[in-house]
Symmetry: C2
Subunit: 156 residues, 2 copies
């Protein structure tokens, strides 16, 4: 399987591309934790939105050995009318489907749309905007950079 | 006033230093949004903790022109006993004091400690661990990198 190292520089460039693609105004951002956290921080700064929230999910196998997803820490969305959900990748789509289901139930009057950096075309649901197609395993910088030993500068 | 550009490379190196300093075990991380979001993502990956949550604050001037802070989206902490709060900088300390007050009230049986990249020694409260003293304005990469025009690669 193809394996891609995804450094900060590519993340930055792709986040810029993503903001160019998003032709929609929104008043809050929800990061699917952990994957969407850095993306939400950069986008919150870029759009000058302080309303940047997290949401959490846990995947588990239910009694019938089907993959299920629990969604928790549903954010208080204050006066938001249009909310962008961000994640690093829409892979199977299972998490996103459940996140959208729960959010739409709690907030029936809010419009939710989804932006991600990567999208696996085999997913059960597509994001509204994405930058790259996922064709294999991705080693995101936030996962692997901390494990490298070559850049402790000690300049403090 | 001294102004520091804080690139991703320094953030990564300092986050490594921070993990070396933290001599404490914790079972969840709370990111003060927006500042602590990327830090929480890297640390969550490093410590292999999926329990990475956000918390939100709004600062405002109250009727007596004092700076006040509202804390909301208090995370559901499940079975956590020891929780690390992370933020980019402890500057005045106003936000951190209020976050700790609210969390300790809601979760009297949980121990909370605080880690930040920067600490202004004039703050009203100190983090338990930090990496660098803040001596002026800091342009964090998540704030300024998106505004630069030199690195859209278009390699998609």
């Amino acid at each position: 399987m193809e394996k891609l190292y995804y450094p900060y520089e590519d993340f930055l460039a792709d986040t810029k591309v993503l903001t160019q693609k998003i032709d929609w105004e929104f008043d809050a951002i929800i990061a699917v934790a952990r994957g969407g956290l850095s993306l939400a921080q950069l986008m919150g700064e870029y759009y000058n939105l302080r309303s940047v929230y997290g949401i959490n999910t846990i995947g588990y196998e239910d009694t019938k050995k089907l993959q299920s997803v629990d969604v928790f820490n549903i954010p208080e969305l204050k006066d938001a009318k249009q909310v962008l959900i961000v994640d690093d990748i829409v892979d199977s789509g299972d998490t996103l489907i459940e996140v959208l289901k729960v959010l739409k139930k709690v907030y029936p009057d809010i419009t939710f749309k989804v932006a991600s950096l990567f999208y696996n075309k085999g997913a059960k649901i597509a994001p509204n905007w994405y930058v790259k197609e996922a064709k294999g395993w991705i080693d995101f910088f936030w996962t692997v950079d901390m494990l490298k030993n070559d850049n402790i500068t000690g300049n403090n």
